[in-house]
Symmetry: C2
Subunit: 192 residues, 2 copies
DNA sequence: CTTGATTGTCTAGCGATGCTAGGATCGAAT
DNA sequence: ATTCGATCCTAGCATCGCTAGACAATCAAG
């Protein structure tokens, strides 16, 4: 039976290779450049192999999104843990979030802009997504203010960060002044 | 020379028909369904006719976006003009914005999600886009608070609304509680 | 009025996309 | 050694955005 297990290991490794390659390609040349042909060529297999791992391109995007969500949760917790006091902690969270979005645009797109076929804000939402939101909640819950539901507050704060991240990257907002926007957001939204 | 003028009128009418049809199709079945073939069939011309009016699909999206920006500016001014006092005015603006995004998802996508080849936040930004931002600024400028640049404040408030609008529609936020999010945003961000 | 040129439109086709059917090949088990 | 099942690839489908070249209608000049 060990032969079978080895094959399963190799198969799992190939699946990771597909996801990693898709992500790499997307970060290098954008998601439009991630075609099934190019992806297949890079992993040195034929196209149909992709479809033996994933239902289609959507699921590949979804896999990148899950990977990214886990990394984002780590990044956010790392950013907040180094800060002193609620004010600085929230500011660090906001900067960390925007920094992550800026440094990993393809992953961010897979998470929040593209359709990866994932369920959000539901019971069957994948664990990494729930955990990324939890990382936000851990920091933001304590500054929601009296009478305001921590979850709702986190949603609003997150939405604001998301708006700044996407509008900035799409050229809808002037690229400078990011720090001032963060300051404004933190000082006004958070109850310290 | 009148013959020539008539032809120009007819040509302009056909261009409006293209934009209106693209928008209609996008609202009905989403932008993915707006293919050059389908669009050409609906206006009862062949594909190449589209390319005698627009450089490509991108420019058609851009045309829909400009049309939408003008409508959005009107909608926002209508919403704010009916409200009494700064607090209610800002809340009405926020509700009007989210309402517009919800009721015209395809137009909203053309404006802020898709690439319509338009310049944003620059000198050569088309007038309708500037005016839509101006409509926001007119209302939000007076609640920016002391020492905060009205333009910057408007950008942040707008980004927050944009985040709520996009995340809600993509199913990333629970669909209910919109009103509570608006209240929170207005009460915290605006200085009354 | 006839001719030639210009304008307008269409048919047909290019390269590329996501995805799939069917056959070939290879290894494990009898 | 032979069967059988899993694995993988070649080839192809329908569709996409976009364009070249043929054709017809229209206009200006002789």
């Amino acid at each position: 039976m060990s032969v079978h297990e080895r094959k399963q290991r190799e198969r799992a490794a190939r699946e990771r290779l597909i996801v990693a390659t898709a992500r790499e390609l997307a970060e290098q040349q954008g998601w439009d450049a991630v075609t099934t042909r190019r992806l297949a060529e890079r992993i040195e297999y034929s196209q149909p192999v992709l479809y033996s791992h994933f239902r289609g391109k959507r699921e590949i995007i979804g896999a990148v999104a899950l990977e990214g969500a886990a990394e984002m949760a780590v990044a956010l917790r790392a950013a907040t843990s180094a800060a002193d006091g609620p004010r600085e902690r929230v500011a660090a969270l906001a900067r960390g979030y925007l920094h992550f979005a800026e440094r990993n645009p393809a992953v961010y797109d897979a998470l929040f802009q593209l359709d990866g076929g994932l369920a959000y804000a539901q019971e069957d939402t994948p664990e990494p997504l729930k955990d990324a939101f939890a990382a936000l909640l851990e920091c933001l819950g304590e500054v929601a203010g009296d009478g305001v539901h921590p979850g709702l507050f986190t949603e609003v704060f997150w939405a604001s960060l998301h708006g700044i991240a996407t509008l900035s990257r799409a050229g809808r907002l002037p690229p400078q002044d990011t720090e001032q926007r963060v300051e404004l957001l933190v000082d006004r939204l958070a109850v310290l």
